[in-house]
């Protein structure tokens, strides 16, 4: 395993080495909350971060598996295309924002705007998520084992939201939907990939787009 110590290596040297790597396992020690750690990775490598990170950890990731033994700052896995980010601690605001693919697992809580504008990523949160999560989410799955904050799924497109606990409020055009056999199968798969123990697919409720905002409703013309 190759080790980068951020008390001596510069962030740019480290990210550049990881971006050029095509295989192998790497560890990053003393991250000390630095921004943009393990961004723009392109290959099936394994990266372990020993500690907490700042903004944009594992942003734009492709194929790499990144494991954070700590918490992550705002924008973790932002615009991830594929691969996996596992966070042992908490995630700050807008984790998984605009992510197109791959899997994001947060074993603690995720704060506000989790999965905002997600475009195909699968996000599994073991704890709670904050307000305005999955705002304008377009595609992919968000599975929450705890509670969701205010305005879940506001202006939602076709992403699927599964919540085990309480939802403080639903956003505009988001409603609860029936859990069919195909959804139980999706949830079972997410629970396994998200390393969730002690929850059953039947425990979750599904939320999705009411599809009332897709077309202009002439009855609302007086509002403009």
């Amino acid at each position: 395993m190759t080790e980068f110590d951020l008390t001596s290596a510069t962030l740019r040297e480290m990210n550049s080495s990881l971006q050029d790597a095509t295989s192998g396992a790497y560890s990053i020690v003393n991250p000390r909350g630095a921004h943009a750690i393990a961004c723009g990775l392109k290959s099936e490598i394994d990266v372990t971060i020993a500690g907490s990170t700042g903004y944009y950890c594992a942003g734009m990731n492709q194929l790499a598996r990144v494991h954070v033994n700590g918490s992550v700052g705002p924008g973790a896995a932002e615009n991830m295309m594929s691969g996996k980010l596992i966070v042992e601690g908490d995630a700050s605001q807008y984790c998984g924002a605009t992510a197109h693919g791959g899997t994001l697992v947060v074993k603690g809580n995720a704060s506000s705007r989790c999965g905002i504008s997600m475009k195909g990523v699968d996000i599994v949160v073991h704890g709670n998520i904050g307000h305005m999560s999955a705002f304008m989410a377009q595609s992919g799955n968000l599975l929450v084992c705890g509670d969701a904050g205010d305005a879940l799924g506001d202006s939602l497109y076709e992403a699927r939201l599964f919540v085990k606990g309480a939802v403080k409020s639903l956003g505009a055009d988001c409603n609860e939907k029936e859990m069919r056999a195909e959804h139980l199968e999706i949830v079972a798969n997410l629970l396994e990939r998200g390393e969730v123990a002690g929850a059953k697919p039947e425990d979750f409720k599904r939320y999705g787009s009411a599809r009332q905002l897709y077309n202009f409703n002439i009855d609302n013309v007086s509002a403009y």
């Binding site: 907490s52 700042g54 700052g73 605001q93 704060s111 506000s112 904050g130 307000h131």
Partner: protein
């Protein structure tokens, strides 16, 4: 952006290190705002005494004239462009009136039994060096590095703002209803030094507390009355509090151990604190007041 740090000590043994710990935290936040920096440090004045911290751009001449005018009433400690006037608690109003009436080049940064405020245009590293903040001891303190959005880059536009005895406020964000609120407070007799939005926030909280609200109650009321983006850290004589607006875009991290409570705009600011690896670290919830020592 803007960067905020705060440290509230529970363990008296850390008091001599307050200035050093807070300085390191603030310098780490430098790239969140390069315009100006400031620090408020709370340390007790001797029994029956109070402190007035003043600043002047013409320090050499203005402070000489002030010292002469005070005629032995104050014990004076100069730090670069600031001096701390330690006076009898009963003389605070008199000394303030003398400064306001006869010393236009001298500006009052703070007054109270415990607080001292130092702030200037420039980077945090330069500002903490100029005022020798690392050598300061105290019970709690807050620091701010500014990226100006709402008013000019000047000494008076730097944070922390203090609008009442021993009170201070630092802010990351921008208020959108500060003009209307300033007018309302002016009608109630509150005076303002700047066009800055944060000064209005500080004056609003001070006015609430003057009318009997606790620090918590004042901040709770602000969630309804202040419109805009904010992460606030507020200090009082013995208290320390944090509140974020309901949207909570502006970042905030709290850490607590048996020895201290620490606040940083980012986790980076906290990584050198003793015992941080075992601290409880969390992100304060939106529209929720957190306070200690109140």
């Amino acid at each position: 952006m803007c960067g905020i740090v705060g440290l509230y000590l529970k363990d008296e043994a850390l008091k001599p290190q307050l200035g050093r710990l807070l300085s390191d935290m603030l310098v780490t936040m430098s790239n969140r705002g390069p315009d100006s920096a400031g620090i408020a440090i709370y340390s007790d004045a001797p029994e029956g005494r109070a402190k007035i911290t003043v600043q002047s751009d013409e320090a050499d001449s203005a402070f000489g004239v002030l010292e002469h005018a005070l005629n032995g009433k104050a014990h004076i400690t100069r730090r670069d462009s600031h001096v701390v006037l330690e006076v009898a608690a009963d003389d605070v109003a008199l000394v303030r009136a003398e400064i306001e009436a006869n010393h236009p080049a001298v500006r009052i940064m703070s007054s109270g039994e415990t607080v001292e405020i130092y702030k200037e245009v420039g980077l945090p590293a330069d500002v903490v060096d100029r005022f020798e903040v690392r050598q300061m001891s105290g019970s709690h303190g807050v620091g701010h590095t500014r990226m100006a959005t709402e008013s000019a880059v000047t000494t008076l536009g730097a944070h922390p703002f203090s609008t009442d005895e021993d009170q201070c406020l630092v802010h990351n964000g921008s208020l959108s209803n500060h003009n209307r609120l300033r007018q309302k407070l002016q009608q109630e007799g509150v005076k303002f030094e700047t066009e800055n939005d944060t000064e209005v926030g500080a004056a609003y909280f001070a006015e609430k507390m003057r009318k009997g609200a606790s620090l918590d109650e004042a901040l709770e009321a602000g969630i309804t009355d202040l419109d805009g983006f904010y992460t606030f850290v507020c200090g009082t004589k013995g208290g320390f509090a944090v509140v974020r607006d309901p949207i909570a875009c502006k970042p905030a991290v709290l850490a607590e151990t048996d020895q201290y409570v620490a606040f940083g705009s980012e986790y980076r600011a906290l990584v050198n604190l003793p015992g941080i690896k075992d601290a409880r670290v969390w992100e304060p919830e939106p529209a929720t007041v957190y306070s200690w020592g109140v």
